[in-house]
Point group: C3
Chain length 344, copies 3
């Protein structure tokens, strides 16, 4: 169990300490769970009452809450500081470096220092693994792939040949990177003729890919996941897509081939993006959006057809009242018929 004194925690979070710097802290919990020796945090004023009753030994708070009676670490963004503090106490799961004799390492590979390769890993020929890479059991790394330093591939991840993974990338279990894109052309008998998928996938630094993603290789050129992108689970990314830096892709989103997603974009769960569509930087698409046309930057969109989110909320409300609307129209018809009767 890790233990830090409160003064050290304040220093590491870049916060102001109000209280006893020598208290020993060994963990972080929610306001209602934290006990002696544990720190907690006040993410917003909504939690003020809970905070005042909390048994926590110390609290991470914003400047607005510096009056709470407890040992305090005052920071601008308590939720961010919570995440950083939790990282201090998170159990370190890094395996001892070493290359299992039960792993297969291909020919002409270039392996850096402090690499961990678990049993039953398969590494193809001409692969480059930089310092500190971890490959968990049943990982497959196709030939001529490159994995940057400190990257971690969880169990069962598959990299097809010629995949390029940057530094500090995390790929969760069961994800497939570099499978053939869905590219066919109809032949004379109306049978699908396969277009060779000869491109690759490139994933930049500090990306985290969830479990069971399918990211297809490009037909020519590359499918490109830019730095800092985070994807949730069960996501489809088609061939030749570009996902701009620092975008967030939530669970079960499907992005068709050659779509270009901007930087700092958020695609909420179960959204679909049509092929060749462009989404501008900083745009948010709400859950299950159907993006069938280009979207400008800095917008918030929802629905099928995709439209500004506020308008979509109106449409949704009215959709649920369609039966009343139909009734109303019938009443108007009746009234008009009566009026027509009276006048003619």
């Amino acid at each position: 169990m890790k233990e830090l004194i409160l003064g050290e925690i304040a220093r590491r979070l870049g916060g102001e300490l109000l209280g006893d710097p020598d208290i020993r802290i060994h963990g972080i919990r929610g306001l209602d769970e934290a006990q002696e020796g544990q720190i907690s945090f006040v993410a917003s004023s909504r939690f003020l009452q809970l905070a005042e009753k909390s048994q926590a030994a110390a609290l991470i708070v914003s400047p607005a809450h510096r009056h709470i009676e407890n040992n305090l670490v005052v920071v601008e963004n308590p939720y961010l500081a919570y995440a950083r503090c939790a990282a201090l106490f998170a159990p370190s799961e890094e395996p001892t470096p070493g290359i299992s004799k039960l792993a297969h390492i291909g020919e002409n590979c270039r392996l850096g220092r402090d690499i961990s390769i678990f049993p039953m890993v398969f590494v193809g020929d001409e692969v480059e693994l930089d310092d500190g890479v971890t490959l968990y059991p049943h990982v497959y790394v196709g030939h001529n792939s490159v994995i940057g330093e400190q990257s971690v591939l969880h169990p069962g991840v598959v990299l097809y040949p010629h995949t390029r993974i940057g530094r500090r990338v995390i790929v969760h279990a069961g994800t497939v990177i570099g499978s053939d894109g869905f590219g066919y052309v109809m032949d004379e008998e109306n049978h699908a003729f396969k277009i060779p998928q000869t491109g690759c996938v490139r994933i930049d630094d500090d990306v985290e890919i969830g479990a069971l993603n399918a990211i297809d290789r490009a037909s020519m050129g590359r499918t490109w996941i830019q730095e800092g992108v985070k994807t949730d689970n069960l996501i489809q990314i088609g061939h030749n897509c570009v996902i701009g830096a620092h975008s967030l892709i939530i669970a079960q989103v499907g992005i068709s081939g050659s779509a270009r997603i901007g930087r700092h974009v958020v695609l909420a769960g179960q959204t679909g993006v049509a092929q060749h569509v462009t989404i501008g930087d900083n745009t948010i698409v709400g859950g299950r959006g159907g993006v069938s046309k280009n979207l400008p930057p800095k917008g918030t969109f929802s629905g099928t057809p995709i439209m500004p989110h506020t308008k979509w909320r109106q449409c949704q409300v009215i959709f649920a009242r369609l039966p009343e609307m139909r009734k109303k129209i019938r009443e108007l018809e009746d009234k008009i018929a009566q009026l027509e009767g009276k006048i003619s």
Copy 2:
């Protein structure tokens, strides 16, 4: 090939036998497929004609159908009895117990009796496997996990460390349990900072998980799948979700973080559930429902926005008639304009 006499089948199904108890039965088939030596079943009156023509050697029927001319096993619920009877004849696929020398077993594991561990399985340190557990090839069991008696993990299943699996649980191939939840907080540069996911996943007794599910570990505490839950394929269950006992989750459903699904709930295919939403016991959500708010118990809901199923059906019908409705409104406009002309 297994074989049972009809009297024994009636006894095991708790049914009344009408006919020859000594007929030998070696299998169960549909009414139109069953032949000599095979039993079939009449699930409802719709199948009465088929039943009367069936070549089956015997039929499982409800009391309402005890007049059919054949050897009969009369039970309250013929469909349930069919399932039980099929289980009697199902080929037993249980492997011979034994621990392959081509598997990796970590240190300080506690292994029960009659365990089957296939080649290329990886079991981490400090794992507990109870009696009769089966681990198929390429299964990964992270350290400090526990698997209850008679549970079966099909090929390629991944359990991240600290996962707890109950008794008689079946997990189908490729499913990932315990990957990190999608938890980030934006830092000063608007980059996603990872919130450590230090919780775990707990799966209770008699759960069956389909293929290629992604079930995330909790950020703190646990993600909890309660007893008797059955999930289909390609399902997403976010961090800190609770899925109540005996609920059924159909294919491609996505459940966002911290959602609480009640007991005996049914979520039909491709449904999405927003984060922190609660669904009451015994509630049914129709295919592709978009559950963005809490739902009460014992209801039937559909659509986006989610609404009572009967109302949703009305809205659907009207949606398909929107072009007519618009035409109607234009006609009313014209008529009113005419009326206004006549009056003024």
Copy 3:
């Protein structure tokens, strides 16, 4: 690097050569990327300007474009010819045949010639592998399965026992074939009682299955993917489905149990098909269609409820104008009230 003279390319594509037959070609690229020694193609008149400026050493064109000043290969369908030409230059990734000593091969297997079995593959008992089959690392082939000649299973593919795969089939990484269908019947305590899934999956010749598909075995009989079908990634196919020959199933589609999809059908991304539904030959369902009823052949359908595509487009347009429609109805109400006031 492969190299062919232009005359040979024209011959292999069955095209007419206009220009120098002896130019050496070593690759194919897009019109704006192709350089000396590379061939490109003009898929339609839209690309005519690009074609005239292209640095490509030769162009594949349709008869309508035989006037372009370059070395030309004239064919009926330049896009199809491009795919065929790309196949000529695609790097051949076929592994050297051989059976790794680190693979597990069961008892009583029948293995053809020129088979490649990579390390960490598991092949169960009584399996039949025909000539030229390739099993990449971490593939699992359950007992009594059959795989036809020249078929390729990419890393981590799982075939449950008794699966039948045809010839020249490609299955991409992580796909699960033959897991139990979602079949339960409620027992006296309203708990789900498992119906034994004793059928199998059959996949015919020249099928390509994408990554992370889940294709369930039949409850009885078989789930059947007919010849030439192509599926994208993350697709669910329920028990007892039939997918007709040469149909295309795009990413994240879910097909419920016992659905019958015709021949040459296209199901676009994220479509859902209800159980027991039939879709006629040559029918197209647009993205995220909700197919809850039978569809005739040769139609194009979209939406939920599913409807003819042209009608759905109208409905979509009106849906986005529901706020205006509601306003219009309120105006009509006011006008009618005024008229009523004037008349009475």
